[in-house]
Every structure is written in structure tokens, then in C-alpha cells.
Symmetry: D2
Subunit: 339 residues, 4 copies
């Protein structure tokens, strides 16, 4: 951590500040020049509260040098984390493809879709039971009933199920879910993250609507600091000024996250772009850039989907996309997982 002092800082003030800094168990070094004075903090600065330093009268700016996350940091955990999901490995040398409807609408729709995506080669089933919707007047999901339907679909197909939690109070309903998803709007719901950190279950954590990569890693750190290290990161597009796509898919985040952390990285091209015809190219790009999993929306009848139909693939289109993904994944050395 580097602390730049104001020109006006006098010797006594600087000594007081350096004395105060000793509480954080770090070593301070003063660099003095004609026009500026800098203190370099050396040691583990994770616990140094940057804001309380910034608030000091004589401090001009404070800049963090080390990353403020530990458990999620590749520097301290060089080996990739591989998460076991009912025998399937996420984070290792196989690509997982998580497919299914945006919302669980009916048992028939969900099971038909599950069978179709399985046949096409998907390795996990996604589906929303609790749906965060901008409007209170839009369909909010089937809730518990939706989770029960997903379990039936799992029985039918053997596909592990991934579904989103919206509130801590629902946590018991997710006991038998294979991966609990945290949506973009809850990416900094710290109460929820801490509660999930006390489970022994994989958590798929989506990047916030306008979350930085560091914030995403700090949210992972919230879960991990409570004891649960099974965190899967998900790039799902960020909010920018561009309106041609729903969000801007930040694919460079895939290799960058893989440099910074040992956690698996997945990509959701459906939500990122909001346009069905872009799912194929974005999936291929994500695989080429090294992602460990893809999350793709498929609906047996997108025209009658209760949410997000415009970005959903039909089973037929998904099959065609899967064929391309399979070839690309094979080419890239991380083939799609198979039974």
C-alpha cells in the first residue's frame, strides 16, 4: 500500500501517522523528496482499511498494491480449484455446458427441455425458480414448486441442477440443489454471500450488473472466508453505454480472472447479449479464451417463454450450437464432459 502525503504534512504529523499504522502489523517506510512525501506499507495489508487511512488529514491519496483478497488469490493458491458436482468436474480439463430454460414454467416444459439439452450434449441443467424481475407485475417464478420440478428433471435425465437463490430466508429450499446460483443483482448481497459461505455446496457467483472483477473476487472472498471454497465465477456481461446488446460481454475477463484466481470461470452468453443469434459465436469465443463452463438458455418454445424468450435457443438450434461447441472445445484441449 502506498500513501501519498500532502505537501503540508509536517514531521510530527507524519510520525503520528506512522505510529498509528503500526496497529495493522505492517512496516512503514517514508520516502521524502522536495515536492512530495510517500509512505510505503510493506507486509500483509489485506486488513488495512484503506478508507480510514484516506481520511487522515495529511493523506493525499492511498493506493493499494496488493490484492485485497486472499482465499481467492492465485498467488497463494497456485493450483486450479476443481469442483465436483455429482461426479462432474468444474474447473478441470473438461468443459461443462449448463443449459435449460430461463424460468421453470411447468413440469412438462422443464422436463422436455431437460431431455432435449441432455440429448444435445449439455452436462448440467439450469432453470430459474426464483426470478428477479425489474417489474413487480412480471412473472416472479414458481418458487419451491420450481425447485421440485427441477429435481424431477434431474431424476429423469441425471443432469445436476443449477438454480438461483434470491434471499437467505429461502436457503433451506436449496438443500438438494447441486449448484446454487447468485444472480447479478445479488452479487453484493453480503448477508446472502456469508450464509452461502457456511454451506458445503458449489456456488455459481455472477458478476454484478456493473461489478468490477475485483468486486467479483471480493464477493467470492465473502463466501470463502466463511469456509466454503466451492465458488464458480460467472461473466455475464456488464452495463455500458452500448445498447446494441443487452449488456457488454467482457470476454477478456476470462483469461484475466484465470490469472488472478484459481477458481473456475464460466460465461453466460445468453444474458450477456440478450440476442439468440449471438449465443453461438460468443460461446465459441468463450471456449477459445479458456472458460471452464458455459451457461446457455434453451426453451422448447421460446415464443411462449414466460421470460427472456428473445435470447433463448430452441432445442434444435441448441443442438447445432452444441456441435460447434463440442468441436471447438475438443480443439482447445478442454473437451465437453461426457458420461
Amino acid at each position: 500500500m502506498v500513501i501519498v502525503l500532502k505537501d503540508s504534512a509536517n514531521k510530527k504529523q507524519i510520525e503520528e501517522l506512522m505510529e498509528w499504522l503500526t496497529r495493522f502489523d505492517v512496516k512503514s517506510n517514508l520516502v521524502e523528496g522536495v515536492h512530495s512525501k510517500i509512505i510505503g506499507l510493506i507486509g500483509d495489508t489485506t486488513a488495512v482499511d484503506i478508507e480510514s487511512v484516506q481520511a487522515k488529514e495529511i493523506v493525499d491519496t492511498v493506493k493499494r498494491v496488493q490484492e485485497p483478497y486472499k482465499n481467492a488469490n492465485r498467488r497463494f493458491h497456485p493450483l486450479d480449484t476443481v469442483i465436483d458436482v455429482r461426479g462432474r468436474k468444474l474447473g478441470g480439463d473438461r468443459l461443462q455446458v449448463i443449459a435449460g430454460p430461463c424460468s421453470v414454467e411447468t413440469e412438462e416444459q422443464t422436463i422436455k427441455t431437460a431431455i432435449a439439452v441432455k440429448e444435445a450434449g449439455a452436462t448440467m441443467l439450469r432453470g430459474g425458480a426464483f426470478k428477479p424481475r425489474t417489474s413487480p407485475y412480471a412473472f416472479q417464478g414458481l418458487g419451491k414448486e420450481g425447485i421440485d420440478i427441477l429435481k424431477k428433471a434431474r431424476s429423469e435425465t441425471g443432469l445436476p441442477i443449477v438454480t438461483e437463490i434470491m434471499d437467505v430466508s429461502d436457503i433451506d429450499l436449496f438443500d438438494d440443489v447441486d449448484i446454487i446460483q447468485v444472480g447479478a443483482r445479488n452479487s453484493q448481497n453480503f448477508t446472502l454471500l456469508k450464509a452461502l459461505g457456511r454451506l458445503n455446496k458449489p456456488i455459481l457467483l455472477k458478476r454484478g450488473l456493473s461489478g468490477t472483477l475485483q468486486e467479483l473476487l471480493m464477493s467470492a472472498e465473502y463466501i470463502m472466508s466463511e469456509g466454503n471454497s466451492q465458488v464458480i465465477l460467472c461473466e455475464r456481461g456488464i452495463r455500458t453505454y452500448e445498447t446494441a446488446t443487452r449488456n457488454t460481454l467482457d470476454l477478456a475477463s476470462v483469461p484475466l480472472l484465470k490469472q488472478k484466481t484459481h477458481l473456475p470461470v464460466t460465461v453466460d452468453p445468453s444474458h450477456a447479449t440478450g440476442i439468440a443469434s449471438l449465443v453461438e459465436p460468443c460461446s465459441l469465443g468463450a471456449v477459445a479464451m479458456g472458460c471452464h463452463a458455459l451457461e446457455i438458455e434453451v426453451h422448447i418454445d421460446p415464443e411462449h417463454a414466460w421470460s427472456d424468450g428473445a435470447q433463448s435457443l430452441t432445442p434444435e438450434k441448441f443442438k447445432a450450437v452444441m456441435n460447434k461447441i463440442r468441436a471447438m472445445a475438443e480443439f482447445c484441449g478442454r473437451p465437453v464432459d461426457a458420461d
Copy 2:
């Protein structure tokens, strides 16, 4: 709502779509030309799910004409909502100034600050008991103890108290709080919003980190659609590419929100800018632009604040700022509230 059809749409498909649209109890009008075909939907389109329309094969784009919110819409509620907070009116012809520390740290700190801001002319007390912090290693707030301290400060000063809720499960702790604040990171925590909608208590709703004004109004609609119409909107800066200030304070949102909604609008210049020296000019600007309230961070000892010290004013500085605010508010015809 305007539905632009693809060039390829044939007569039969268009008829089917128009038949399907009848379910929403709206009237469809087809406009046909050589190169494009448009359907205009007339009537109350609030309940029309734009995404399910977008998903139709023959639909190119869908554009909403009417606002998708009703309870929060000035069109249907032309008169300003005035919210009574222990006798103080928020949304009317008096400016409320909500001041206090970012975090409740100790009883002494809080009560001293409360007394100081009261003396300077603040009309309500703010203070965080539950603190959303990016890092799990940072101070997370005193929780219930913090709320108890705020109540003591209220007893000492008579100032109504405003404090932030982070999770539905804590809702009972806020029974005796005067205004419950929803922070930027929870601006689209729909479970929380619905629960707050079932209370009979003012809710101060902050705009999301990258929330649009329409999303802010839809979040207000979530609360109002459950029965609680005491919603106060708060502009607190949005996330942009500019790093010179913590966020970009969108002051034009004040008059724009006042055109679109009857709800009171407040501004938080402390969080918006993150720079103490900008609190005064931004407060004056906000008042000049018509806000109903200001939320300002004050700490008896910013250098030793446990959070956000860099943007906090000392009581002395706050007093000076209040004097300017008082004059500006008087000049603008909405004087600071007084006993």
C-alpha cells in the same frame, strides 16, 4: 407499446400475433407499408410482458411508449407525496437535512455527533448499523447494538433516525426506526423491497450503483405495489468511467424524477463524490435543483472514522455548510425545516 415486425412476417403470422395479444386486454393496430409493418398497442400496457412479445419469431423490436410503473407515476398521481416522519414533512415545502456518521461506532461518537448536527440545524439523524462493505475483512457495523445506540441518540436530540437494512431477516429490528434506508447494492433486492412494502413506514430507496431512473422507479413500484406508498427516492451517484470522484452525481435526475413521479427526492452528496470538499457545492446545487432532502455524512473525528472518513465532514465544517444550505434553501423557497 410499438411492435416492429420483421420484413418476412406474413399475413397469417401477423393475425396470430394480434390474436395472441388480445390476452393483455389491449387494442392492436396494424400499420403496413412497403418496407415495414408496425403494430401499435393501445390501452394499459403495464402488464404486457415486453420480453414475451420480443421472443415472437416475426417480431423485430418492441418499444414501450408508456412508463411501466403506475403507483409511482405522476401521470396518475399529480400531487406531491408528503411523508410525515415524527411530525417532520418530507416531500413538501420544507427541506430536510439528514446528517450523521456513516457507521454507528460507539454510543459516545453517535450521541456527540447527533447533538452536534442538531445544533448545526440538521433535522434528522443518519447512521449505519448494518454496513455493506466490499471486503469481508472490513468493519461490518454493530448491528442491533447500533440501532439501540441510534434510538438513544434520538432520545437525546429528538431527531428522527434513518438507518439501513441489509436483509429481510433483520426486519423486526427496524420496528422503531423512523425511516428504513435501502442501500444502492440492495436497490434491486426484490424480496427485501416486497417485505418493506408490507410495512407502514417510510422507506428511503437509494438508486443502484448503475441503476437507471426507470429501474429506481420500478423498485419504488415494488414497495408501493405491496401497499406502502411512503417511498423516498435518493440520488447517490452512479458508476461511470470517471474516477476523479467516487461516483458521478447525476443531479439532473432531481428535476427529471420530479417530473416523472410524485415521490420525494433526496440527494446524498457524500457517497456520490467521496470527497469532503465537494459536499458543500453539491449540496447547494441539489437544493437549487429542487431536492426535498439532503443526506450528509458527519463524524466528530473523521480521521478516526471506521468507514468513509474521507467524505465525512467535521461538526465544524458541517455547521458552515449548513449555514450556506440554510440560506440557499430559503432563497429557493423551500427553507430548512425547523422546530
Copy 3:
């Protein structure tokens, strides 16, 4: 400037780097710790090329401590720059109001508007002769003829004229213009900025569509480094994800720029919001926050304006807005300039 070294940096490499740094005539100080090594550069680092430092193998990150601008820097020029424009002072204790049409369309329209804004109290006349338009099929301005019309309007009213240059090759046409405006899209047209820097004439420099404040100051530095110190900065809204207004007006930039630079700061609420009804509140806010000038679009017949009609005020509305601006400016201690 602070240089954070990679863990892997060895003694020899560090010595080489420090030797290499001597070329910039700055002093290097090494701060060594167990986990990190930092070099602090002390002295005038304006000329140190941050990118060439960043490219060094052993360098992890480089952070600039001092601002990279000198001529525009208040630190070195504490007194406000006051620019004389035909006897009117911009940057001093009088507010200038620059009003007029977006585009010069006809002599009649321009002169009528000029007379109307003068009567309402405007102190300078704006009007576009060269118009940067997104579409090649839109009206591109009258060019030289437009400038001639503006001069006639100046003769009629005595108002100094402000008009935009789009290319270096047109520079001679602006000989007799009082203030040359550089539009947002040319904010980093460095060839143009340098050419303007060789004139002895006030330059009104608009912030880029997504320009940072530092980039704005660096663009001012381009002009000033060539010898022309008569630069006026203009906040005109930045591009963000929010679509409710055309741009997001960053009013906090006004007091922040005034801290960082001695140059006058002006605000253009018309382009910033794109909505006529927001011009009044945004103007009042800008004055309350300390701007030295306002730039407002007025058109005698906005419905038939050839560009930007939606944000233009009629002379009647402008008169009403001016009355409010006059009162606010008086109240804030920087009254509107008068003959």
C-alpha cells in the same frame, strides 16, 4: 510517481531500472519489504513517460502521484485566470451567459434570436456554422456563410460571438470570431488543439463524450503548451448507461475543476440533457455550484430548428429562465454581467 516492482525483480534488475530512471532528472527511492518492493520517484515527473516505465519487465504497476499538467495546474498558478472577451470578463466575478441557436440557419433566424437573447440578458451569442453531425445525411451547417451571419448579429447587438471549429484547415475563417469553440468530438483532436494554441484568442474547450477531467485538463495543456493560455473549460455531460437524458451532466466537475485548475469553467445544460425542461434547473444548479458561464440553446422557433430543437428554449422561455438565473447568480455573489 510510484513504481511497484514484481516479486521476481532481483537486485541487478532494480539497479538497472534506477539507473535508467536517472534520464528523467528525478530522484528514485527504493522501499524494500518481505513481499513487495516499491520505487518512489521524487521531483518533476511530468515528463516521465508512464508507459515506457510500465513496459519494463520487472515493473508490476506504476501510479502517478502528481498531475501530469503544469500550465493548467492551480498548484503552480493559484490565481484564477480571467479572460477578456471584448471587454466582458470570463472567469472573474461576473457570470457570462452565452445563448443562441444550435445552428446558424438563416440571417433572419440568427439576428432575431440574437436580439431576443440580448434583450433577455444574455451576454454573448453562440451559434454553429460548422456542425458535427452523426449522419452524413443531416444538415452540416452553413460554414463560412454562417460565420458571416454571426458577425452581422454581433454588429446588430454588440454581443461577442462563440462558434465551433471542426478542422485546422478552416482556422482562417475564425480570425474575427471572439471565442473559438472545440466540440466534444474534437476534444482530443491534438492537431487542432496545437494549432489553436498558436493563436491569441479565447478557446472554449468542451469535455469529450467520455472524457475524464484529467483528459480535459491535458487537452487544455495542449493548447497552453503552445502559448495560448486563454482556455475556457466546458462541462457538457458525459456518456453513461443512463438513457433518460442524452448525456449525464457531471455537475460535481465544476467545483472539482475549480480546485484543480485556475481556468474558467462553463456548463452547457442544453447538450448535456437534451431536454428543454431541464435547462432551467440545471442552469440554476450550475450557478449554485460556482460555474463562470453558461451556454444555452435558444431558437426563435424550436419546432422548425434544423438541429437540436428538442433541447432549445424559445426566446420567451429563455427570458423566464434568465430571470431565475439572474436572481440565483446575484444570490451566489457572481451576478450576471451587464453593460
Copy 4:
């Protein structure tokens, strides 16, 4: 184009508006309902000035349905444009790799780099002679001398040369350049675009710092509307709130642009990310997503580069990256061009 009228619009006003609209040679259809009235414009609306419509008193909002570009529109030109550059085809079934230094610094550096990138498999040479730099104190490029050096490098290697123009006044210096590049900061320098439109030479047009895809296509339209249809689009990252990479590479723009236009699409991963280690994965992703060309920075000695060293590859690294690109391009069915 769809025009939504205000509630208050009366019959006479609507008739006047529809009469006024006839000037644009389009057909108007009125759709009337209880709560809203809409006019649909049918025909070629490219020339309808959306702003002048928006300015009408009775108009609430105007929405464009058709794209405002024609020459660049795939709808009217379904076949891919293939541009011949000294016998190499850009836009067809071969991938072009444009590599070279950010800046031309010396003859030796440039020629050595040119030979190295040629040996590694690059098909064109890039290098900056005119450099847009944020700071007036940074190296601004060698200008004419730089172009001469590039021509020598072309003689040595046979590689076509790509270099950036910054101002119309320099246009003659680019006579013998193979592709003229327009940088991000000049993406809406309309005077420059029009001048380039009068040449018979390929133009590589970069997306603006915060340019929308539609603006990029409109800038292409500026060039094309003057007669030059040899335009190559370049995605080079956009400005967002994320600071982990220099810009946010919007790779979904590649397939989206290819849907909307027939022009070739290229990607610059070096400038987009600013991080050398991300160039390889981003290049592979771009190829997998269908780009026609890549632009990559290579420097024989990045540590001593005069600009952008941090994102430049050494010839050795470039060779390794090229091997991966070659394999990926082959796999994707658009192999790297070869002699």
C-alpha cells in the same frame, strides 16, 4: 420511424404534423387510442431528421425503426465486401494479421520488427508515424519520416503497410500507404472522414473510445457516401467503469457487426486490453468469433518502446501467438493468408 404524440395533441396539430412530414417523401399512418396516439412513418426514413421531429410541440418521443445507414447496410448489400490490399484480400476467406510497433521509432527498430513479424507469419505491417497522445509532453511520432521508414520496411518485406492519419492536412503524405487508419479519437472527425471518402484507398476505421456500433457504422457511412467503399471496421475496446483492463473489449460486436454490415471487421486486442498477456487469448477469441483480421502490437524491445510497451509482444512471443492463431484460424475455416 415511430412518432409517439403527447396526450394533449389535438386533431388540428396532428394534421399539421402529418402535412409537414410529407416533405420527407414518407407515408404517415396515425394509430389512435384512448390513451395514446402514434404515427408510423413508412418508406425510406434515412433522410428524416429525427431531431427536427422530436422538437415538435406535440411529439413525445420518436423512435427510429430502420437503420440510418444505407451504403454500409447489409440489408441492401448482402454480399461481403472484400478489399484488395496489394493482392491480399481483407474481408474474404483468409485471415489477415496486421502486426508491428505502436510507434515507428527508428529505421532499425521498424525494419527489424517488420522482418520478425513477417517471419512469424504476419501478413501486413502496422506502425504509427503520427501518434495521438494524451499528453503534449509525450512522444508525438516521427511524422513524414515515420511513413518513409514504413515504406522501406515494406520494400524489405513485401508487407503492405497500415498507418494512422491524424489530420486532413497530412493526407498527401499517405498517398503511397496501403491502408490508412483512423484512430479512436478521430472516429467522429467528420471532416477527415469525408476527405478519406474521396480517396480510392482502404480505410481502417476504429471504433470511438465510447462509440456505439451504430455510430461506427455512421462514420463508415460518411466515408462511403463520398464514394470510397473500402472501409474496414475495427473493434478496439470501449471505455467502461472497469479498470482491470485499459478498455473493455466488446467481442460480441464482431458477429453483430457482421450481421448488420457487409464490411470487414477487425479486432485490436493490444489496445483493447493494454496487457501483453491477454493478447493471445483475445486474439483466439476474436478469430473464433469470426473476425477478418487482427491488429497486434509487436516491438523488438518492448522495455524500450517509446509508447505502449506494456501491451506489446516481443517477436518471440508474437511467434508463439501466431502459431496458435494459425491453428485456430485453420480450424475456424478462415486460415491465415499466406504468400
